[in-house]
């Protein structure tokens, strides 16, 4: 009884009694959510264009961030390191298309999914093999001081706000890219129907390379932001695991879904940890998102914005 009360009643009373703490958690959650959205966005892009569930997205984040930091440690200035890292991600896209995707055309989704688990391990191994596996600091000049609003009642971090702004900018530019450029249109066409896109002369291979490149760049941005926040280390590749429930919630094929899902998961996680965590013994952040997504799946399997798949024999 006491336990039930501590999870069903007390947290709500606490929320009611400490609105500022609650708001702060929500804001922190929002800014973390933006970062989750960034990673989830990489997933959605590849899933839309190739029907491939790219488990390696997290490893790509790690790989990109490691490459950037590794180059900077060797004395390459930031701007040059950025350009070089983008070049590496483009090369990676080429390699993936040539060595993997090309041979796996027409396989079922599950096989592709498992192939990306393999890719995940290759990237994690290679990245750490080249640049070492110790924690690296990434200094790119994002200010990191707390500031308060509402007269000191809510603490916020400049860093979180900057990260949120970067994320938002990336999302907007991707949206523009998808809606306004010929390449974006081609991508959407491929996403709708591979065969039809091929038959009107859209080169599938180019599209795949393009999409993996974009996913690589998104991974780089996510890697920079996360890396600057908590150091570049192996755990970066684990945020992919956080992006999965985001996708479930938002729907695999929807860019807005990835964003809204990320925000919901971010906020839900922080608030749950803040108010429900003590009653449950803490560290519930790890599974809360999954349970939320799982509960959601039972009621709406296609996610918030996903397309309902109708199957026929």
């Amino acid at each position: 009884m006491e336990f039930l009360e501590s999870i069903l009643v007390t947290p709500f009373i606490e929320i009611w009694e400490s609105p500022y703490y609650f708001t702060e958690l929500v804001l922190v959650g929002l800014s973390t959510g933006v970062l989750y959205s960034l990673v989830a966005l990489g997933f959605v892009l590849i899933f839309k264009a190739s029907g491939m569930f790219n488990f390696a997205q997290g490893a790509m984040v790690l790989f990109a961030a490691l490459t950037l930091v590794g180059l900077m440690e060797h004395g390459v200035p930031l701007w040059a390191a950025l350009i070089l890292t983008v070049a590496v991600m483009v090369a990676l896209a080429f390699l993936v298309e040539r060595l993997m995707l090309r041979h796996l055309v027409n396989q079922e989704g599950l096989i592709l999914f498992m192939a990306t688990i393999g890719l995940n391990f290759i990237l994690e191994g290679t990245g750490q093999l080249m640049w070492g596996s110790d924690v690296k600091r990434l200094e790119i000049g994002i200010p990191d001081q707390p500031f308060d609003i509402l007269g000191g009642k809510i603490l916020l971090n400049t860093f979180d706000v900057t990260a949120a702004v970067i994320g938002a900018l990336l999302v907007v530019s991707l949206a523009v890219f998808f809606q306004k450029t010929p390449m974006g249109r081609a991508l959407r066409a491929v996403a709708d129907d591979h065969q039809a896109a091929l038959s009107v002369g859209i080169p599938l291979k180019t599209i795949w390379i393009a999409v993996w490149t974009i996913a690589g760049i998104v991974a780089l941005v996510a890697g920079i932001v996360w890396g600057a926040k908590s150091g570049v280390q192996f755990s970066l590749s684990l945020i992919a695991l956080k992006a999965l429930p985001v996708l479930i919630l938002g729907g695999f094929t929807s860019v807005p879904g990835a964003i809204v899902g990320g925000l919901i998961i971010g906020v839900g996680e922080k608030v749950a940890e803040g108010f429900w965590g003590p009653a449950l013994g803490g560290a519930i952040e790890n599974w809360f998102a999954y349970m939320l997504a799982l509960a959601f799946l039972v009621f709406r399997p296609q996610g918030l914005f996903g397309e309902k798949i109708i199957e026929r024999v």
């Binding site: 993997m100 498992m114 393999g118 990237l123 560290a283 999954y290 349970m291 399997p301 024999v313």
Partner: protein, 358 residues
Amino acid sequence: MFYREAGQFKTTYQGDQAVFPVFQDKIAVILVILAAYAVPLFADEYWLQAIFIQFLVFALMAIGLNILMGYAGQVSLGTGAFAAVGAYACYKLTTNIEGMNVIVAILLSGGCAAAVGVVFGLPSLRIKGFYLAVATLAAQFFILWLFNKVGWFYNNNPSGTITAPPRELFGVLITGPSASPEARYIVCLTFLIVFAWFAKNLVRGRIGRNWMAIRDMDIAAEIIGIRPLQTKLLAFAISSFYCGVAGALMIFCWLGSAETEAFDLATVSFRVLFMIIIGGLGSIGGSIMGAAFIILVPIFLTNFPPMIGLDISTALQKHLEEIIFGVMIVFFLIVEPEGFARLWQILREKLRKWPFPY
């Protein structure tokens, strides 16, 4: 020359449908089993402890996952969680119930794992593929967190670990750190043989056919009268049962004591997944071959470079291992999606025609 089917006529359905319809196969399997039981006579403690017992435990888990993924087509990344349920259940059963036979305890803990597997398999009716993979990840994270946080599961001991108590069978100590490696090896081997045999018979019978129908096209299977929920849940139950038993053996016969970290995503779930991809999805023998391969690669990496005079650090070794596993996965998926099991089949075809491939 020796591997000829000529002259072996089948006059009954039973003969035709036997697990090993070819006489030579029967002999080969019997020889392999005898050799496996003879291993403790030759292997030293390190080999038994670090390699053979580990292999047997993981092979059992791979069979479990293969039933679910290879036969019933339900993706699961929660193998580690189900194994953990088995391990913790077995720990609770043996420490809290006086005079509990350890074999019974292991089987019962498999039952606990099966129950948990069914609960997490419930969403499989509505969701499939990647969505299901994420649902099983929920199991992975939630269950390990639970075992870490709730003291009841590890009897509130301060270290937070569970330790296998010493238990005897027929007067021989078979579990716990003080049991002889030979005894533990024999126990694991017997479990693997019995369970592999059972799985083999299960998947070629009605239940296995139902699973394969569901895997190949669930809607069509439903139309021909296979009840999807029951069939899928049965697959989850039996698969988790295998994983649970393997988890119990993992603590009781292999590690001796462990924390929840021993069952996490990378050390168990992905490893077992790799085993069945490389060994062959939808093949019991393949699971065992895959397990052997995945266990042997790291050992090869530890021992081979020093032999040729290369000195590599453990970190480097770990990364190389990751890369090799990744490349192997991609390579197998591209070149031989049916894994070792298919290679074995090809070898048999060749053997049949040897020495005159007409």
